[in-house]
């Protein structure tokens, strides 16, 4: 034996020991730097708030009332979407509802409407000359003069967010072994009791996860509540951002902390019950609705009407009116549409490239540093768009050297990357996992150059996953409003800011047309990215 055998084994590149070594390797430093980029704005918000000192006490007294309203709304919307989403999922997967395959797909479509567009559509629809106003007047009901407050916000946010519950629950129901239900029956339970004692417990994780996403969405919601005049924390942040910066940071911290708690809870829930992924054939005999068929169809029609048909009809009538008058035209939308495409595509590509090192690290060489980086990316997702925009705006304005970034498309794209990077990360991680170890090891023996190896083996195999991740970022960016509003350069309008300003100025026709274009783009993206590959459509 030589001395070499007694010496501690040197970490060899690619060997397993590598996970236990130092934090200071180039790849880990890159990972931590990226992580800092994602967590930075959140940290800045908290730091600014803490630094307020005595002022904090003064402004905090203004927080409880809007906080209570925010929580009320979030709880109500989560609860109602949990019930509606689960009910619809059950109807479209487990019963003999006429046309259930078609319903199953149609009921996802409200996801394509940003909730501020939905709110705007309802307000415009109820205004004199709007489609709802006309319809209600025709049947002899006086239309409500204003659509405002908790009730309206609750209804409208529920109508556009229930798919967050509906989709995972329907997917779960489609995968759930029918033998479980049948066992319940064989052991003496009626079909109703079986649903509550056997089926529902299997859906709990899906329902809870979906409802938490809705909670987070509502918490961060700005456009719809602003339009509906319901004073939540985000509205406080927006209105006080110029006049009372202390208050706006305090409110932002509160929303941020709440959001972080919700995301942490959602993440921890995922691990709780290991999903039972053995699949089986669908229930051979779907539950017969019998007398319940008509009410079930009515419920589906109602949900789809509120979430899609009525808003689209309302927007379409205004747009059509404007087009026939010649007051508006598609020409005015060309620039905003190009701008939207420019920032969204850039953000999608940038987000995918930036999180790729983290995805590779967490899946291949997991280390505390890569976990920290991954969590930072999730923090970027949890931070509400408005809070993120506020942080980036104040940060750039008040930091010498960075102030040139303020109100540039670069900063706007950075905001999108931070906010939606976690969507790219999740896809990239599963893409990285889809390259089998054996393949990477065999390529290592054949091609010594790591870069060439990555581009000839890993990248082609990961590409579908990376493209899907980039697509999700694209979809979210197209629909985003508050960050775009706060960070866009002057005279730079996207489809969503165009809708917003047209609507605020009362140009319903222009807002309607822009909204229809936005809904069209986001429907196509939703179909291609969310629905096409999902069991909900394929089965």
């Amino acid at each position: 034996m030589t001395d070499a055998s007694l010496a501690p084994s040197r970490p060899q590149s690619g060997s397993r020991q590598r996970t236990a070594t130092s934090w200071v390797t180039p790849s880990r430093l890159i990972g931590l730097t990226i992580g800092a980029l994602f967590a930075g704005p959140a940290a800045f918000v908290v730091w600014r708030t803490v630094r307020l000192g005595d002022d904090l006490g003064d402004v905090l007294s203004e927080v409880p009332a809007p906080l209570w309203r925010t929580i009320q709304l979030s709880v109500l919307v989560s609860a109602s979407t949990a019930i509606v989403g689960t009910g619809l999922a059950w109807l479209t997967t487990r019963t003999n509802l006429p046309g259930r395959r078609l319903w199953r797909i149609a009921l996802v479509l409200p996801l394509a409407l940003p909730s501020f567009v939905g709110a705007a559509a309802f307000i415009a629809g109820l205004a004199p000359g709007g489609v709802l106003n006309d319809a209600l007047t025709a049947v002899g009901i006086t239309p409500p003069s204003r659509l405002r407050g908790l009730g309206a916000s609750w209804l409208i946010l529920s109508a556009f967010t229930y798919p967050y519950v509906y989709l995972p629950v329907a997917a779960r129901l489609l995968r759930l072994r029918s033998s479980l239900d049948e066992s319940g029956r064989m052991l003496g339970l009626s079909s109703t009791a079986t649903f509550f004692k056997v089926t529902l417990p299997q859906l709990r994780t899906a329902i809870f996860g979906g409802a938490l996403l809705v909670f987070l969405y509502t918490l961060s919601e700005f456009g719809a509540v602003q339009l509906l005049g319901y004073d939540t924390l985000t509205r406080v942040i927006f209105s006080s951002r110029l006049t009372n910066r202390a208050l706006s940071f305090a409110a932002a911290s509160v929303v941020l902390l709440l959001a972080l708690c919700v995301v942490a809870l959602e993440r921890s829930q995922r691990g709780v019950s290991r999903p039972d992924d053995r699949t089986s054939v669908l229930t051979r005999q779907p539950t017969r609705l019998r007398w319940g068929t008509i009410p079930a169809l009515a419920a589906c029609t109602l949900v789809l009407s509120v979430g899609l048909l009525v808003p689209v009809a309302s927007l379409a009538t205004w747009a059509q009116r404007g087009l026939t008058d010649g007051r508006i035209g598609f020409g005015e939308l060309v620039q905003p549409a190009m701008n939207t495409a420019l920032v969204a595509i850039t953000a999608a590509v940038a987000a995918t490239v930036i999180v790729l090192p983290i995805a590779l690290a967490t899946t291949r060489r997991p280390h505390r540093s890569s976990n920290i980086a991954a969590i930072s990316v999730v923090v970027g997702f949890a931070i509400p768009g408005l809070v993120l925009a506020l942080a980036l705006a104040v940060l750039t304005l008040n930091t010498p050297g960075l102030d040139r970034l303020y109100q540039t498309t670069a900063l706007l794209i950075l905001a999108y990357v931070i906010h939606f990077g976690s969507q790219a990360l999740a896809s990239s991680e599963s893409a990285a996992r889809s390259v089998p170890n054996s393949l990477r090891e065999s390529s290592r023996l054949l091609e010594p150059n790591p870069a060439r190896r990555f581009f000839s083996v890993d990248f082609p195999l990961m590409r579908p996953g990376l493209v899907a991740g980039a697509g999700l970022v694209l979809l979210s960016t197209v629909k985003e409003l508050p960050a775009t509003l706060l960070l866009s350069p002057p005279d730079f309008s996207t489809l969503s800011t165009e809708i917003w300003s047209a609507y605020e100025e009362g140009f319903y026709a222009a807002a309607g047309l822009a909204s229809l274009v936005l809904i069209g783009v986001s429907s196509v993206l939703t179909w291609v990215l969310v629905l096409r590959g999902s069991d909900v459509v394929r089965k």
């Binding site: 029956r185 052991l187 003496g188 009626s190 009791a193 004692k197 056997v198 290991r274 051979r284 005999q285």
Partner: protein, 395 residues
């Protein structure tokens, strides 16, 4: 063990003209089960055996009430649980919901509730059933059942932590807990790997015989059907081809298809020489007595079923005292230890499979003489008409 548990009153099951149809989109109706009749004696174990898609699972599910027959009648014990009115016999529709039939069922995947512990799974049916048990009774019953399936210390485990065989045993205990009149098993061992399957199968057989519950199980595995079943119903294309004891099925199958499905079968052409009571067919491998002559008497050419173990092999020689039989060449040898399976090519070109105890070993290319063996207990055989009938090739 059995006397610890309540005695299971064996209950008869009878099915008359049961059909199960599915409406397939665009293709009208698919008939999964076509007018099946079946009588199950109290306390017996019945196998429904057939290739996939033959309707055996649909038939089982129609007993459970998970499938509603489109015609026919199902009776469990004295109670008619389903009848369908039809044009010939205008009766009232009777339909008893599955949960009210007193039937237990074990599914292919066990179908244990993943959110409940082993003990909670077993208790589930006791709580739900209409028979009321007191708390100490429930605890005692669950303990006895866990003991019965040999999982006493596993009560507090979650199903996902158990092996496939243990899960199936829990599923069995769960289905027995409410004391069903009939136990149904849907391919209960098919999800297990081979070695485990044999072991779990033996344990389940012991338990079922101990407690004497009427059992009907579905399988596509002939070994499983023969080892477990008192009687076996062989199904094909929605119909019960034959219902009998394993020995009946093996020795006197009603059709060449059944013959081939329940075991390896050779068919040799023979000429019926003696048309008196004991018929004998002259075949290339010797004279074969025929028990079941499923041919009309006008035909003199028949195909005779010869099982591989009914063929004896001797080395071919030119001498005159060589046995009567057909010269053949060994084309393949599979050595199993307890016996050896040979594939033979007869000089007329036909192939035969033979299984012999390995007193004399042949190798590929050896010349042998194949002879029908008369000494064995099953020295008689079944004969079929030479028609389009061919042995099953979809085993």
């Amino acid at each position: 063990m059995a006397n610890n548990l309540d005695v299971f009153a064996g209950t008869a099951v009878s099915m008359r003209g049961v059909s199960v149809t599915y409406s397939a989109s665009g293709e009208g109706h698919i008939v999964a089960v076509d007018r099946a009749d079946l009588d199950v004696e109290p306390g017996s174990i019945i196998a429904l055996l057939g290739p996939s898609g033959c309707g055996k699972t649909s038939l089982l599910r129609s007993i459970a009430g998970l499938e509603e027959p489109s015609s026919g009648e199902v009776v469990i014990g004295e109670r008619t649980v389903s009848t369908c009115p039809n044009s010939a016999v205008p009766t009232k529709r009777i339909w008893v919901q599955p949960e009210q039939r007193d039937v237990g069922m074990v599914f292919q995947d066990g179908a244990l509730f993943p959110h409940l512990t082993v003990r909670q799974n077993i208790v589930f049916g006791l709580r739900a059933t209409r028979k009321k048990f007191s708390k100490p009774e429930i605890t005692a019953r669950v303990d006895r059942l866990l003991e019965l399936v040999d999982l006493t210390s596993y009560g507090d485990r979650m199903p996902s932590t158990l092996s496939g065989g243990q899960q199936q045993r829990v599923a069995l205990a769960r289905s027995l807990a409410p004391q069903p009149k009939v136990l149904l098993l849907d391919e209960p061992f098919s999800a297990l790997d081979t070695a485990l399957r044999v072991q779990v199968r033996a344990e389940v057989a012991r338990i079922l015989r101990d407690i004497g519950v009427t059992t009907i199980f579905v399988t596509h595995d002939q070994d499983e059907a023969f080892v477990l079943g008192d009687k076996v119903a062989v199904m094909q294309s929605g119909q019960i081809e034959q219902f009998g004891t394993p020995d009946e099925l093996y020795r006197s199958p009603r059709t060449p298809w059944v013959a081939g499905f329940v075991g390896e079968a050779n068919f040799v052409v023979g000429t019926v020489t003696d048309k008196t009571a004991a018929e004998i067919a002259a075949t290339p491998i010797g004279m074969i007595p025929i028990v079941d002559h499923r041919v009309n008497s006008a035909e003199s050419q028949v195909q005779v079923l010869v099982r591989p173990e009914q063929i004896a092999l001797t080395s071919w020689s030119n001498s005159d005292d060589r046995p009567v039989g057909e010269a053949a060449t060994v084309v393949n040898v599979e050595y199993y230890g307890h016996d050896v399976r040979y594939e033979l090519q007869l000089d007329d070109g036909t192939t035969l499979a033979a299984r012999t105890h390995s007193t004399e070993l042949f190798i590929r290319g050896d010349r042998v003489v194949a002879t029908f063996q008369r000494r064995q207990r099953n020295s008689q055989s079944a004969a079929f008409s030479i028609g389009p009938l061919r042995p099953a090739d979809d085993r």
